[in-house]
Amino acid sequence: MAVISEFFGHARLRPRKRLLGRLGTGATALVLPVAILTLWWVASDRGWLPQQILPAPAYVYEMARDMIASGEILYHTGVSLRRVIIGFAIGAALGLSLGIAMGLSEVVEDYAKPLFLAFAQIPTLGWIPLLMLLVGIDETLKIIIIAKGAFVPMAMNTFTGIRNVSPRYIEVGHALRFSRWQQLRLIILPAAIPSIFTGIRYGLTHSWTSLVGVELLASSEGLGYLLVWGRQMFWLDTVIIAMIAIGIVGFVMDKGLNSTEHLIQRWKKGEA
């Protein structure tokens, strides 16, 4: 928000008349999508590209309506969301515990961190074929992969968050003769919350990306599967709809986290 106001404030300094000055931000934002849509419509109408490469927008729209009406898109989205929620919950809980343990105890850090860093080096996509051999291509595989996606950023950010708690706060705790538990609950965790939230945000993004990856490679339902299936049948309309659905879910999760974060920060301010 600050960026926008800064930029408008700045714009007022310039006396030059701007072409889009009178159009609202919303209307300006729509210019490009409308232009792309028009180009797309003209291209498919004139047959510049074959249907298999670029289906007509009307087709895609109709297909989207059908898929929404039949509940197909909702079903696949639900399947994907369920996997992400379970996997993310497991991965985030484990990551949070490891992060707290490593953050609080240097001994735990010394023992666990090198192995953890080595583990984190291997991209989530790398684990998929390995785990496919170990656990097959069932639900377990998807949950593990998604959990791994959330685990690494969660542990990392929790750890740095706790380590960066200002020593002054901790001193206050000592002065007040807080017990270890009080120290953790009243000082360390609240101070580490912004960093933990960064972990949650990255974790959720990674989980969602991992989900798409694992569903592309091995799945018989879910949005990723919809992509592969549409691709194999050369139904590009299905592919495009699945992509849009993936984008919308990603967007909603991002917004949801944003407002949760604001809520928590406000609560913190109210308390202080």
């Binding site: 300006t28 792309i36 240097e106 010394d110 023992y111 051999l133 990306t209 993936i246 967007f251």
Partner: protein
């Protein structure tokens, strides 16, 4: 507190778990506690690594993967910096394009693969396009943010000196966004490696490390998969290191920041 624990002790602690795991691995695989098909012995993995390295030209595969990665990364980052500079220079372009860009970036990266494979096939071209896209997005975002944060007084000096757009870009925006660009390049380097692996998994034509892993899985050759995954991690790690030194090099003119 930290100084009390010596480097040697920390090192000993650090290698304890990995060594313990390796021993557990070897013992359970030798004694038949775990099915050797799922957990091949270390010797077997080493032999496979040797076989792939020497007989099956693993370095060739690796070179292919890295070439793809580099080509895509260079294209993506050049386009990304150019695109972001354009948006920073022109408010109209910014307001026209940025909302759409922000919407499109929500689509998870891997979800582009099917569409790219329809448009560009399964060959080298499709892979490079995908890797370039992976590098493009973080570089645009970071460069754009960096340029938006260009100091207002510098911009005013630019106006007073009647800078032309290219001068504004080269003398104000790009230098002041350098730290942000470096972050973007760093992320782009990591993402493009992920994308290289992804592209080789899903567009599995031609040589490459990702193809090796997939082939290992299809042949149920756990040792081969492990070697491949290990190399994936190793390359990712080296790229990360490279990015750090690149960042340090790009920002060498800047006084050390005290954080």
């Amino acid at each position: 507190m930290a100084a009390a624990t010596s480097q040697a002790v920390r090192f000993r602690r650090g290698i304890t778990l990995p060594i313990f795991l390796l021993i557990a691995w070897e013992v359970s695989s030798r004694s038949g506690l775990a099915d050797p098909r799922f957990l091949p012995s270390l010797e077997n993995v080493a032999l496979t690594a040797k076989r792939e390295l020497i007989d099956n030209n693993l370095f060739g595969d690796l070179a292919y993967s890295l070439m793809r990665n580099l080509a895509g990364f260079l294209i993506g980052s050049a386009l990304g910096v150019g695109f972001a500079t354009l948006l920073a220079l022109s408010r109209i372009a910014d307001r026209l394009v940025m909302p759409t860009f922000n919407a499109v970036k929500q689509i998870s990266l891997l979800a582009w693969i099917p569409l790219i494979s329809v448009w560009f096939g399964f060959g080298e071209q499709a892979k490079i396009v995908f890797v370039a896209l992976a590098a493009f997005i973080p570089i645009v975002l970071n460069t754009y943010d960096g340029m938006r944060a260009a100091p207002a007084d510098l911009l005013e000096v630019g106006r007073a000196l009647k800078f032309r757009p290219h001068q504004r870009a080269l003398r104000i925006y790009i230098p002041s966004a350098m730290p942000a660009i470096a972050t973007g390049v760093h992320l782009g380097l990591i993402y493009s490696w992920l994308a290289t692996v992804g592209a080789e998994y899903f567009l599995a034509v031609g040589p490459g490390i990702g193809g090796l892993v997939i082939a290992g899985r299809e042949r149920f050759d756990m040792a081969m998969v492990m070697v491949g995954v290990f190399i994936l991690g190793l390359v990712g790690f080296s790229l990360n290191r490279l990015a750090y030194s690149l960042e340090a090099y790009l920002l060498r003119w800047r006084p050390r920041q005290v954080r």
